[in-house]
Amino acid sequence: MRYIVDRSMRALLLVSALVSIFVVFLILVFTLRAGLRAFREIGLVDLLMGSVWRPGQEQYGILAMIVGSVFVTILAVAWGVPLSLMGAIFLAEVAPAWVRSVVRPAVELLAGIPSVVYGLFGMVVLVPLVRRIPVPGNTGFGLLSASIVLAVMILPTITNIAEDAIRAVPREYKEGSLALGTTHWQTIVGVILPAARSGIVAAVILGVGRALGETMAMIMVIGNSVVVPRPLASNPLTIVLSQARTLTGNIAVEIAYATGLHESAIFATGVVLFVLIIVVNSLARLLMRGRRR
């Protein structure tokens, strides 16, 4: 009897383990199948390189969304990565225990706050601030506001993973360096950070993956106009005030009422996003694995 229970539980657990891989399989099949029509009828090049998205006129180019997603991610990385990495070094090397016990839960809480709350905060606080920048056509909604919100949202991801990477550096490295008479800071820059490099890069890449996938907060603050971002005035920096739409936003905003080729084009957007994320995350995984050896 015990033996039968043992065997059947084992089989049952195996089945539940297999569910994950089944879900991956289903996601691939369903998004690809639904997006196939768009890839066939619109053509890969027109779909990826077309900058006009007018479902009413059967024009489906997602270039604007690709540029929007990549652009806002790059900006978010520019704001967020220095702060996140400094936070990670601070937590791993500098902070006294009691400070750490305050900052760490705070960072964890940042990760837990719903993205719609960040979006709301962006709409109510950041957008009016950005709107004050005196440039014609500046609505406040756009890449700048969105990237600031996004920078806060990727901070916990990067800080946590980078801190782990820094902590994983063997003590002997640090002790050896300090014994040579270096200051703690010299040791951090010259020994600890180089040793933790691959883990830190992986942290940043995972942050990029998180940024590319963010949806609701982006819809709320980026403006959602389907345009390839361009400067609003002669100053090229005003490009950050341009509105944009992300791949994720394109899916969420239109899927509910899309039919036919339009619906298929939305699924194709999903496929592109999926591929982008898989490439980014595989890169991170490769680096993490390299570190373990």
Partner: protein
């Protein structure tokens, strides 16, 4: 004066380590550490600003009426949030009851059974594939789960925009969360626990169920609490699978609107920012509570396994 301190010659350059050099290095360290402190303080400040702003703004509209009356729609987002609270609760229960057994089961298999797969080529390969799948799922953006849920549950399986569709799609999103956290909890159980039990002549399942799972229970509960937080704060998946009607769902096949979704509609469709802030404040309070519970549980786990 020139030879005060150490001279180090390296290639064509001469480094002089003098007291002033040391002072300079200490100075550099002070500046750098000041910046690091600043970064740490910034992280906390950002949290405090966001939380304080939303909670302080939100408190203005929170009163018993706001909590206990259903939304009535309208351009200013009239009414309260009662039905969305109930819908969120339904959604949490339904999603967790799908994801938790599957996730915990998968974690048990991966930790307790997959370890002995060496030499069993096909199964070992399968386990590798499962691990890869879990890692992949963990990185998939939530809107993709939504899109998939829309294609499979809403459309292909004709479940429509409903609690069930949303919970199934949400469960897919939760799987990697539950699996990873439970795996960690199970791995923390010392080997000696298992060996002691097996030596008494129990089957492996008896050991798992009677010894390992109870020892890892706080960690497993943590993984479930973590998922509760994810369901409460998740919006993208439910935005495309739950429908968005603010009426109380009558069955698992009717649509609804969770609190986070309600916040989104209030802010985007009606610009009722004050009520959105109220909803946001409640969400934040719930998330803070959940984080406190998780911290408490992980201390429990550490204490239990350390003291045993």
């Amino acid at each position: 004066m020139q030879d005060a301190g150490w001279r180090i010659e390296h290639r064509d350059r001469t480094f002089v380590l003098t007291t002033s050099n040391l002072a300079w290095r200490h100075f550099a360290q002070r500046v750098a550490f000041a910046l690091l402190w600043l970064a740490g303080i910034m992280a906390v400040a950002v949290l405090v600003v966001v939380v304080a702003y939303v909670v302080l703004q939100g408190v203005k509209v929170i009163n018993p009426e706001f909590l206990l009356t259903p939304p009535r729609g309208g351009l200013s987002g009239e009414g309260g949030i009662s039905t969305t609270v109930v819908t969120t609760l339904y959604l949490v229960l339904l999603t967790i009851s799908i994801a938790a057994p599957l996730g915990v089961g998968a974690a048990i298999y991966l930790v307790e059974y997959a370890g002995q797969m060496q030499g069993q080529g096909r199964l070992a390969y399968l386990v590798g594939v499962v691990r890869f799948g879990v890692e992949l799922l963990a990185g998939v953006p939530s809107i993709i789960f939504g899109l998939f849920g829309y294609a499979l549950f809403v459309t292909a399986m004709h479940l429509g925009f409903s609690l069930l569709s949303a919970a199934l799609a949400g469960a897919c999103l939760l799987l990697p969360v539950v699996i990873r956290a439970s795996e960690e909890a199970l791995r923390a159980v010392p080997r000696s626990f298992r060996e002691g039990s097996l030596a008494l002549g129990t089957t492996q399942w008896q050991t798992v169920w009677g010894v390992v799972v109870p020892a890892a229970l706080p960690g497993i509960i943590t993984s479930v609490v973590l998922s509760v937080g994810r369901v409460i704060s998740e919006t993208a998946v439910f935005y495309v699978t739950l429908g968005g009607s603010y009426n109380l769902p009558r069955s698992i096949l009717s649509g609804g609107r969770s609190m986070a979704l309600h916040l989104y509609y209030l802010a985007m469709d009606t610009r009722a920012f004050e009520k959105a802030m109220g909803t946001g404040a409640i969400l934040i309070v719930v998330i803070v509570l959940i984080n406190l519970i998780i911290n408490f549980l992980s201390h429990r786990l550490a204490a239990r396994l350390g003291g045993a």
